[in-house]
């Protein structure tokens, strides 16, 4: 916009100034030329007027000596620069006498008539006749200009005689020889008929020059300006008319020449303007292009961003889709854990709104592992299918059942049941599932252990209900085969074990009843043991070896988990210090509870603990669960980040169980991703590829994480994981968790002098 205005102003000014200066140049030249025409006409008039004044005297001389030589006159004429010859005529045109021979003997009648008319209008004034009136001696152009001078008698009323004076064109040309008319300038003498009688240019008298047209304007103006044209272009002409002497003088010059000086200036100005315009336009184009390029880059960036976004979305979509495809457990035809929780949560909400009781049953088949081991997977699978079939058979509309993996089943009882009805239903289930199974020529006897949690009595949320049901199931298992237990101990007829355990915690800690067992982790690429996961066990003086699934939930509920966590870390450090003393540098993985991570000084304490034992932080790996990082206000992540910075390894435990998407993982300072054992277990149940496991591995690699699989039990699983790109594996296939004593005799441990904690 600014550019356009500037350009418009620039050019407007240019054209305006050009027009004005052209007008001024033409006007100045017009004034000069009119002056020149006036001076020339006036001097010519004065010349002939003087000749007339003296002619009256001369005629006496001429008349007195008719036919003889006029010595004085001819000598005078020889000296006179302007007048050449004189001849005296009667009013009828007959020659009386002449200064020179060869003057015409008779004046033409046309000239006499013209003179008569001239006298009638202007009196006895000299006249330039419309014809030459000179005797042509040869074929040369006439070099004289004739004037007819009417001489009157003394009364001034009658024409007495006519004097023909021939004036010298050379004289007239000489008058103008030093006047600069310009290259195309012309001074012309025109007679009363408009015929050109003399043309003088800068160089001299011009014969046969370019014709100028139109003629002098036919009006009574005595002076003026008009335009004339020749083949060479337009002329500006100024004229001065002397009708009382029968002639006009015009001065003309080509417009081009008049304007050439200003033209030159304006040509320079034009080029200046053009280059400025060009400069401005180029600047405009440049800015345009720069803006365009920036826009382009911006668009490209945006496009790349979009493509990335799409890629991430597609990967997540793929992941979700494949997860969903596995929503149902294809062995049993029941829901899998994830799908079940989704549906169960919805059902639970409905039940609560109706104020109905909801029961969650956790079912574990006794002796399943030994059946599986002894009779083979096929039979195991058939058994599970049969169990699933019997459970389904007992369900009423609204009830849901799921297989959580392995031999674990979960049932949700909806509807409007009382506690007694639930108790009856569970009792029926236990008896049905304890009935003999006939599977492919095998007759099997097995029984379930069932734990029951009831909403709203035991909890409101599905995950805690499941956990409580699970805990209750352990209680049942503890109580013997084919038993069922309610989580609410008041509903249990006789189960005080948990209570006892809870009461025994602090004493157990003091007495150092907690011990660590170690399960080796094997790098699949080299098949070498690179580290061990520390698993806690409670060496209870009364109950024997108690597994963490029985007391971790209790410890979490009572807050005892924090002390327990530090105890585990201490034990681990002690063991590692021992390792170091043996020259063994294997890595130790320790599980961390979400509650621990919420402590403000967690990371500092871990580091100071390591320092006090003089251990390399790189040798310690903390295993955290998704819940650790999902609900914390960022403190957990901060701890993990500072620990990671210190060199510790962080792995995400139980991945594949929860909801954590991959985009979520990017925020965490993880080194490893531990695929949940439930996903690995499925690998043993089917010979098809598991899309979840392989896509999990791919995505984890994409995030730069190592992948560790736990719960490897079969060779097939190992082969599959290796092919899918899994880095590290851990499970019964390699070794059960070992006591410290067992570990110290474990051959790979003895050989792992060379390993490092990297």
């Amino acid at each position: 916009m600014l550019c356009t205005t500037t350009l418009a102003f620039l050019w407007e000014l240019f054209f305006q100034q050009k027009a004005i200066s052209r007008q001024e140049a033409l006007a100045a030249k017009a004034a000069e030329h009119l002056n020149l025409a006036t001076i020339t006409a006036e001097s010519l008039r004065q010349l002939v007027d003087r000749a007339q004044a003296l002619g009256k005297v001369i005629q006496i001389d001429l008349r007195g000596q008719e036919g003889s030589k006029h010595w004085s006159l001819v000598r005078m004429l020889a000296e006179d620069p302007a007048l050449k010859r004189m001849a005296l005529y009667e009013p009828n045109g007959r020659m009386l006498t002449a200064s020179h021979p060869n003057e015409p003997a008779q004046l033409p009648t046309d000239a006499l008539e013209q003179l008569r008319q001239h006298i009638a209008i202007y009196g006895f004034k000299p006249l330039l006749p419309n014809q030459s009136l000179a005797t042509q001696h040869t074929n040369q152009p006439s070099w004289s200009l004739p004037f007819l001078l009417p001489l009157s008698d003394s009364t001034l009323s009658k024409l007495e005689s006519i004097l023909l004076v021939q004036s010298d064109i050379g004289y007239l040309a000489g008058l103008l020889q030093h006047i600069d008319l310009g290259n195309s300038g012309l001074l012309r003498l025109l007679d009363s008929a408009g015929a050109e009688r003399l043309r003088v240019s800068n160089s001299g008298v011009v014969m046969a020059g370019e014709q100028l047209s139109p003629n002098l304007p036919d009006n009574s103006e005595l002076a003026g300006k008009f335009s004339q044209y020749s083949l060479e272009g337009q002329y500006q002409s100024l004229y001065r008319r002397l009708p009382q002497r029968g002639f006009s003088v015009t001065v003309s010059q080509r417009r081009d020449e008049i304007l050439s000086s200003s033209q030159h200036i304006y040509e320079r100005q034009l080029y200046l303007n053009l280059s400025m315009t060009l400069l401005i336009l180029m600047g405009l184009v440049w800015i345009w292009r720069v803006l365009g390029k920036r826009q382009e880059a911006f668009l490209a960036l945006e496009q790349a961003q979009q493509i990335n976004q799409q890629l991430i979305q597609r990967l997540e979509e793929e992941y979700r889709r494949s997860s969903h495809a596995a929503a149902t457990d294809h062995l049993s035809g029941l829901y899998n854990r994830r799908q079940f929780i989704e549906i169960a949560e919805a059902t639970l909400a409905k039940q609560r709104s109706k104020r109905h009781l909801t029961a969650i049953l956790f079912i574990d088949m006794d002796r399943f592992k030994s059946i599986n081991d002894s009779l083979g997977h096929k039979v195991g699978d058939l058994l599970l299918q049969a169990v699933a079939g019997r459970i389904t058979h007992l369900l009423e509309p609204g009830d849901e059942a799921a297989r959580f993996g392995g031999d674990e089943f979960v049932v949700l009882l909806a509807g409007d049941r009382s506690e007694e009805q639930i108790d009856t239903w569970v009792k029926t289930l236990v008896s049905k599932l304890s009935a003999v199974y006939a599977l492919n020529e095998h007759e099997l006897n097995t029984s379930p252990s069932v734990g029951v949690a009831i909403c709203p009595r035991d909890g409101q949320m599905m995950d805690e209900l499941i956990r409580y049901a699970d805990a209750a199931m352990y209680s049942a298992k503890q109580a013997g085969r084919g038993q069922y237990r309610f989580f609410d101990s008041s509903l249990n007829v006789a189960d005080i074990e948990e209570f006892v355990l809870e009461q025994a915690f602090s004493a157990a800690l003091e007495e150092r009843q907690f011990v660590l067992h170690y399960q080796p982790q094997v790098r699949l690429e080299s098949m070498q043991v690179i580290g061990y996961e520390a698993l806690i066990r409670w060496q209870h003086p009364e109950f024997g070896l108690v597994y963490p699934d029985r007391f971790i939930t209790l410890a979490e509920r009572s807050g005892f988990i924090l002390s327990l966590g530090w105890e585990v870390l201490r034990l681990a450090c002690e063991e590692m210090a021992f390792w170091r003393s043996q020259g063994i540098k294997a890595q130790m993985a320790v599980n961390v509870s979400p509650l621990q991570l919420r402590q403000a000084d967690f990371s500092d304490r871990v580091l100071s603990e390591l320092e006090s034992y003089g251990l390399d932080p790189a040798c310690l790996e903390l295993e955290v669960t998704e819940t650790c990082v999902l609900d914390a206000e960022g403190q957990a992540i901060e701890h993990l980040q500072s620990l990671r910075k210190a060199g510790l390894h962080i792995s995400l435990d139980d991945f594949g169980q929860g909801y954590a998407g991959f985009s979520h993982l990017q925020m965490l300072p993880l080194t490893r991703l531990k695929i949940d054992r439930s996903l690995i277990t499925k690998l043993s149940n089917t010979h098809n590829d598991s899309p979840i496991v392989s896509s999990t591995i791919i995505l984890a690699k994409r995030l730069g994480l190592e992948v560790i699989a736990e719960g490897i039990e079969t060779r097939e699983q190992l082969v599959y994981l290796r092919l899918a790109g899994c880095d590290i594996a851990q499970g019964y296939y390699f070794s059960r968790p070992m006591t410290a004593d067992q570990l110290h005799k474990y051959p790979p441990f003895m050989d792992s002098m060379e390993t490092t904690c990297a």
């Binding site: 030589k69 001299g204 008298v205």
Partner: protein, 293 residues
């Protein structure tokens, strides 16, 4: 002013003196010269000659300035001057009007770059070297002539050149300018006001000798036939005694006028008669072309 004073003196002379026509009774010798170059320069050039003649005749000698060739012709024909230095053509124009005028002397001119030594010179058509290298390139260009009555500056080109190209000058050239003298024609050519000029070879040599042009300034695209050099002519009214004394003074003692001859680029005087100009007269009478606008 000058004109007026002439008139006044003439009227006084008219009243005081009777018309003197007797043998050798004139009181002064009047000479007029065709304006081949500027009149001021000519008057200056002729001072030695005037002084010499005045001394020989015992009467004052004066030079009468002329505006054109034709005014010199008028003057010699009418007896307005006693001696005229005319060009060959202007002599013949005067001769046609008064056969009793008498050419008696001419200059023996120096050899020059353009002119052969002796009694002849040529009309040249000159054009700047960069302007044209052949005649055809000059078609429809501007040309300068000197005076309509000039031999080499108008008459001969009008006749000979027109005959050669088969058309009048006014057709061959886009415009024809009469500058009034050879020098003005050369100046016009040098200043680019015209593209070509017909000039006398002696004037071109004079320009070359004074350094105003170099030998390579102009191309000579055309040369006329040789022309006998300008005559000094007696008026028919000059008494025979004076004629004889002048003739012998001029032709007899060339050394006396050495300074004057140098100024005219000449080596001496030579005797001439009408016969030397007879061939030119025939050319002028037989061929015709130009016209007055």
């Amino acid at each position: 002013m000058r004109v007026v004073s002439f008139w006044v003196s003439w009227v006084l002379a008219l009243m005081l003196s009777s018309m003197a026509q007797a043998q050798c009774t004139q009181q002064s010798l009047r000479i007029s010269v065709i304006p081949k170059k500027s009149m001021e320069a000519l008057i200056r050039d002729y001072q030695p000659l005037l002084a010499y003649l005045s001394n020989v005749l015992g009467i004052p000698a004066e030079i009468v300035a002329a505006s054109s060739y034709e005014s010199v012709v008028d003057a010699i024909v009418s007896g307005g001057v006693d001696i005229a230095f005319l060009g060959p053509a202007s002599y013949l124009l005067a001769y046609q009007r008064d056969p009793h005028i008498e050419p008696f002397a001419s200059l023996t001119i120096n050899r020059g770059y353009f002119t052969p030594a002796g009694h002849h010179y040529q009309a040249l058509l000159l054009t700047p070297l960069e302007q044209a290298s052949n005649l055809e390139a000059l078609r429809n260009k501007r040309v300068a002539l000197s005076d309509p009555a000039s031999t080499s500056g108008s008459m001969v080109p009008n006749v000979e050149f027109s005959a050669q190209v088969g058309m009048p000058l006014t057709q061959f050239f886009s415009s024809v300018v009469y500058t009034g003298s050879h020098d003005k024609s050369l100046d016009a050519l040098l200043e680019g006001r015209v593209e070509a000029a017909f000039v006398a070879s002696v004037r071109a040599d004079a320009y070359l000798n004074t350094g105003r042009i170099s030998a390579s300034t102009f191309n000579v695209l055309w040369r006329s036939e040789r022309i006998y050099y300008d005559p000094y002519v007696f008026s028919s009214g000059l008494c025979s005694e004076y004629k004889a004394r002048i003739r012998s003074a001029i032709l007899g003692d060339p050394q006396a006028l050495a300074g004057f001859l140098t100024s005219q680029d000449a080596t001496g005087f030579t005797s001439v008669s009408h016969a030397e100009y007879e061939p030119l007269l025939r050319i002028m009478q037989t061929k015709s072309t130009p016209s007055m606008p």
